[in-house]
């Protein structure tokens, strides 16, 4: 099964899903079969004056993950992820990383066809 990237507040499967994509604290890249994961810190992206969504999309594209589970995705990030062929599950920030993955495995995640936040959270 393809690797799944999940935005997270800490490097743990039991961490809360970070609602922000571009300025997420970090990403867990999870193998859904074994639940083994790798953590990518996103701290340097959080501090960018502009382009955090694009940078984060680049980070996910480079991680090898083909699926992203997160809360909110802005327009440029969405465009970038879409170009890189990454499927996006949004509005999954109510629980933990583990719960988001279980929800996905159960077939309860619909992939988004557009961003769910406009630029600058308008």
């Amino acid at each position: 099964m393809d690797k799944i990237a999940v935005t997270c507040e800490e490097a743990s499967l039991d961490a809360k899903v970070d609602p922000r994509f571009g300025r997420a604290a970090g990403f867990l890249i999870v193998d859904p079969d074994t639940m083994e994961f790798e953590y990518i810190d996103n701290g340097s992206t959080q501090g960018m004056a502009q382009g955090a969504g694009i940078q984060a999309a680049e980070n996910i594209a480079n991680s090898g993950a083909k699926i992203l589970l997160t809360g909110n995705v802005g327009p440029k990030a969405f465009q970038g992820l879409d170009a890189a062929g990454i499927k996006i599950g949004q509005n999954l920030d109510s629980g933990t990383v583990r719960q988001a993955i279980e929800k996905f495995k159960a077939g309860d995640v619909d992939f988004a066809s557009s961003h769910n936040k406009t630029g600058h959270w308008k």
């Binding site: 502009q50 382009g51 694009i54 440029k76 465009q79 992820l81 170009a83 062929g85």
Partner: protein, 297 residues
């Protein structure tokens, strides 16, 4: 000599002061509105416009046949205006600051230029005053690149009159604020005048502007508009920081009425005119003394 009229807080009277100062300025002068997001000096100076040009910024365009997807451009770009997303090179034109770095670094020569429109530069004449302004395109986020094009036109105007016996002065109507646009508007000036009002809000923003502009080491002075209302904080701060209060414009119904009609307040009464003649003299003294002390070119 270039005189920048700045403020920090919006609505303190930058344009009122600029238009009045222009009206009493004796030497040949160019009025330059660098508040390109919402220029309105022309509403008071009422120039006849004689020319305009569109200001563009160079942004990258990729030839996918030549691009080797090395990603060097995206690594260089500080603004993520260009980014290698997996196998696709994406360009976000509105994010680009126009530095040209990506085009210079591309090893395949796959990047060429196209343009993003920044806005318009227009110029004209009002009596003896030459007039110049920029107007940012609606939707454009960056004003400093447009201000650069306005300043290029200013240079042309100054070069065209470089053989004149009396060199032209420039009065700059700056945008409010203390970030890039405001800094860009005042950075080439010989003196910065901070227009404020004696209220807690006027004081707070004047202090920010004073702190932001101080590292440039230029002479600065304060003009208190709507003098007579509010409190003493502005005066106390100026005394403490040895900032000269170069003019006070009284808080007065007659002035508000003149302004509301789009008229220039220094032309409304002899008393008003004297305030600005005195201000013009003080500006010349302040910049003149700097030249003799600091050996400015």
């Amino acid at each position: 000599m270039k005189i920048a009229i700045a403020s920090g807080k919006g609505g303190t009277g930058k344009t009122t002061v600029s238009s009045s100062l222009l009206s009493v300025w004796e030497s040949p002068v160019i009025a330059m509105d660098l508040d390109v997001e919402e220029p309105n000096l022309h509403l008071f100076v009422k120039p006849t416009f004689t020319g305009k040009r569109t200001a563009n910024m160079e942004i990258p365009k990729v030839d996918d046949a030549l691009c080797s997807k090395c990603g060097k451009c995206g690594e260089l770009c500080q603004f993520k205006a260009i980014s290698l997303m997996g196998e696709i090179l994406m360009i976000f034109p509105e994010m680009c600051h126009g530095c040209g770095g990506c085009i210079a670094i591309c090893p395949e020569g796959a990047l060429t230029t196209e343009f993003r429109e920044l806005g318009e530069v227009t110029w004209g004449q009002s009596g003896d005053v030459e007039f110049l302004m920029g107007r940012l395109r609606v939707g454009e986020a960056m004003s400093p690149p447009l201000m650069k094009v306005v300043k290029e036109k200013l240079k042309e105007m100054l070069d065209a009159s470089s053989k004149d016996v009396i060199p032209k002065d420039v009065i700059i109507d700056a945008p409010p604020g203390v970030s890039c646009p405001a800094i860009n508007a005042v950075m080439d000036s010989d003196i910065i005048l901070l227009v404020t009002e004696p209220t807690p809000f006027g004081f707070y923003d004047m202090k920010l502007a004073h702190e932001s502009f101080s590292p440039m080491g230029k002479p600065m002075g304060v003009i208190v508009n709507r003098a007579g209302l509010g409190n003493a904080e502005v005066y106390d701060y100026c005394a403490e920081k040895k900032l000269e209060i170069m003019a006070e414009i009284p808080y007065d119904r007659q002035i508000a009425e003149t302004y509301a009609k789009g008229s220039v307040i220094s032309e409304s009464s002899d008393e008003m005119k004297q305030i600005f003649i005195s201000l013009a003299k003080k500006i010349k003294q302040k910049t003149g003394s700097r030249k003799s002390q600091g050996g400015m070119p």
